[in-house]
Amino acid sequence: MHTQVTAGSVGQGEVALSQAASPRRPALAVSDQVFRAAALACALLVLTVLVGILASMLYGGWPVFREFGLVDFVAGSTWDVNNDRYGAWPAIAGTLSTALIALVLGVPISLGIAVFLTQLSPPWLKRPIGTAVEILAAVPSIVYGMWGLFVLAPLVAAYVQVPLNQVVEGLPIVGTILYSQVPSGTGIATAGVILAFMIIPFIASVTRDMFDQIPTVLRESAYGIGCTTWEVVRHVLVPQAGVSIIGAIMLGLGRALGETMAVTFVVGNANRLSASIFEPGSTIASRIANEFNEALGLQMSALIALGCVLFVVTFVVLAVARALIARVKVY
C-alpha cells in the first residue's frame, strides 16, 4: 500500500523526494519530520550566531556609543583609562595601516606564487610547494607571533631601523614616516610583515584555483600566436580571473584586519598614534586582547565598541570578497 507513494516520489525526482513524507507509517513520517526540523534548526543556529555577535557587540558597546557618540568615538584620538576618555582612532589607524602594509607586501608575493604554481613549476615540484603553502596557512597564529618577536623584530631593529634612521633623519616627510626614536624592532611595520606572510597562503591558493579553472585552450591559443609566458599571464590569465583576484585580496584583507595574536606580539601595544610606521602602535584586535581581562565599566564597553567597529569593517570586506569569488574551498 505504500508503493504508490514511493513510485510517485521517484517519478518526480529529487524535488518530491524532499517532501515525500505524508501517508507512510506514522513512526517513519514523524522521524522524517523531526530530522528535517533538526536540520533546519541547526542551519538557523548558524544565522543566529552571526546576528548574536552583532547584537552582543552593540549591546556591550552601547554605553560608549551613547556617552561619546559614534563619530566622536571613531574619530577620537585619546585613549585615557584614568579619565575614562575613549577614542578609537589610534587603534583603527593601526589596524588599517598594518593591513595595508600586509597587502602591499603580500599581494605581489601571493600572485607570484600562484603564477609559479600554475605556469612555471615543473610537475614534480607542484605538490610539495602546494603543500608548503597549505602548511603556511595551518601554522597557528601564536607561532607567527613568537617568530616575529624573537626572530624578525631583532633583525628589523638591527638591519632596517638603525641604518634607515641614519639615512632619513632630518629629511622632510620620509624623516617622519620612517624614523624610529627607539629602534626596538616592534611596531606597525613589523606587524605588517608578519601579516603579509599570514595572508599569502589564502590569496595564493584562491588565485591558483582561479587560474586552474581557466580553459587550457585559451592559454594554448595565446602561446600559439607567439605570446611569451608573461604576456599570457598579463593578457589572458589575469583578465580571465578578473574580479576573482580582487576577491582573493579582499579575503586576505579580512584576515589581516582581524588577526590578533601574531599582531599583539609584535605591534608594540602603544596607545598613541604616531606618524612613523616603525613606531609602536596598536590594532583593534591587539588592544582588545591586551586590555579586556583587566577592564571594568566604561573601558570594557569601549573595548566591545571597538570590537563592534572591527566586526562591521570585516563583515563588509568579507561580504565583498564573497560576492567576487563565488566560493572558496576550505579543504
Binding site: L17, V46, W147, A289, V330
Partner: protein, 300 residues
C-alpha cells in the same frame, strides 16, 4: 624582424621559433616575470622553513619528559611542565568539536539536501562563509557576553563553546560540499525502495560522503587546536589542575604559550617554545593527515 636578431638568428634554422625572433623588450619582461615568481615562491618556502626550523630547534631543546608530568610553574619558580595545559587543551578542543560536529553536520545536511537553492539556504551559506573568516577574537567577545557574564565567571564550558563557534562553519562547509558530490541516482535508488528522505540521508548519502565529512571534522579540529584569541576571555588560564566541573579558569596550551613567551623568566620561555612545538606538530599532523586521507579515499 628576423634580421634584427643578428648572430643568434644565423645559428638556428629560420623555421624554428626561438628567442632570436622575439623583440628584446618582450624577452626581458618575460625573463623578469619568471625570475620574480621563482624568487617569491622561494621566499615563501624559505620563511616557512625558517619558522618551522626555529620552532624545532628551540622547542626540541626545551622538550623534556617533565613537560608531560608536571604542572605549569609559578612566577620565579624553577622547572615545571605543561601537563595541566596539555590536558586542558585536549578537553577544550574535544568539547568544542563535540558541540560543533552535530550542529555542523545537520546544518550542512540542510543546505545540501533540503534548502538547496532556496533563499534561506543562500543566506545561510553566505553567513557561514563570513563566519568562516570572521576574526576569532570577536567570537571570544561574543561568548564572553552571552556565557561568561551571565554565568558569573570564566569556565571551560565557555571556552568549548567559543571553539565550537569557530569549528562549526568549517564542518558546515565541508559537509555540504561533500554531500553535493554524492550522485542523485543513489538518493533515488533509496527512495525507490520506499525509504523516507531522512532515512536515505542517514543511511545512503552520509555513508557515501563519510570520508569527506570526516576530513571536514579533522580540519575543524586542526583549526581550533591552535586558537588563542577566543580562549583569552572565556576559558582564561590558570597554573594548577583545573576542577573537573570546568568552572573557573581552565589551563590550556595557547594562552599559556602567550603568557609564558612574553615573560622575563627563562624557564617560562622554554616551556612556551616546547608548547608551541607540540601544538604546531598536532595542528600540522591533523591538517596534512586530513588531506592525505581525503586524497587516498578519492583515488579509490
Amino acid at each position: 624582424m628576423a634580421a634584427t636578431g643578428g648572430a643568434p638568428a644565423a645559428t638556428v634554422p629560420a623555421s624554428a621559433p626561438t628567442w632570436g625572433r622575439v623583440r628584446s623588450s618582450r624577452r626581458v619582461a618575460d625573463r623578469a616575470m619568471k625570475v620574480i615568481c621563482v624568487v617569491f615562491t622561494a621566499l615563501g618556502v624559505f620563511v616557512l622553513g625558517w619558522i618551522l626550523g626555529m620552532l624545532a630547534w628551540k622547542g626540541l631543546g626545551a622538550l623534556t619528559p617533565r613537560i608531560f608530568t608536571e604542572v605549569t610553574p609559578g612566577p620565579g619558580s624553577e622547572g615545571g611542565g605543561l601537563a595541566n595545559a596539555i590536558v586542558g587543551s585536549i578537553v577544550l578542543t574535544c568539547l568544542g568539536i563535540a558541540v560543533a560536529t552535530p550542529i555542523g553536520l545537520m546544518a550542512g545536511t540542510y543546505l545540501a539536501e533540503y534548502g538547496k537553492a532556496s533563499r534561506l539556504a543562500t543566506v545561510i551559506r553566505f553567513v557561514n562563509d563570513v563566519l568562516l573568516a570572521a576574526p576569532s577574537i570577536l567570537i571570544g567577545l561574543f561568548v564572553y557576553t552571552v556565557m561568561v557574564q551571565p554565568m558569573g565567571g570564566y569556565s571551560g564550558w565557555a571556552g568549548g563553546v567559543a571553539l565550537a563557534v569557530i569549528a562549526t562553519p568549517v564542518i558546515v562547509r565541508t559537509t555540504e560540499d561533500m554531500l553535493r558530490l554524492v550522485p542523485g541516482t543513489m538518493r533515488e535508488a533509496g527512495a525507490a525502495l520506499g525509504a523516507p528522505s531522512s532515512f536515505v540521508i542517514r543511511r545512503v548519502t552520509w555513508r557515501a560522503a563519510r570520508a569527506g565529512i570526516v576530513t571536514g571534522i579533522l580540519l575543524a579540529l586542526a583549526r581550533i587546536a591552535g586558537e588563542t584569541a577566543p580562549l583569552l576571555f572565556t576559558a582564561l588560564n590558570n597554573s594548577f589542575w583545573f576542577s573537573p566541573t570546568l568552572l573557573g579558569g581552565v589551563s590550556n596550551l595557547p594562552v599559556t604559550i602567550f603568557q609564558f613567551a612574553l615573560s622575563p623568566y627563562d624557564n617560562w620561555q622554554g616551556l612556551a617554545w616546547a608548547g608551541a612545538l607540540l601544538i604546531t606538530a598536532a595542528v600540522l599532523a591533523l591538517s596534512v593527515g586530513a588531506r592525505l586521507y581525503l586524497n587516498r579515499k578519492a583515488a579509490r
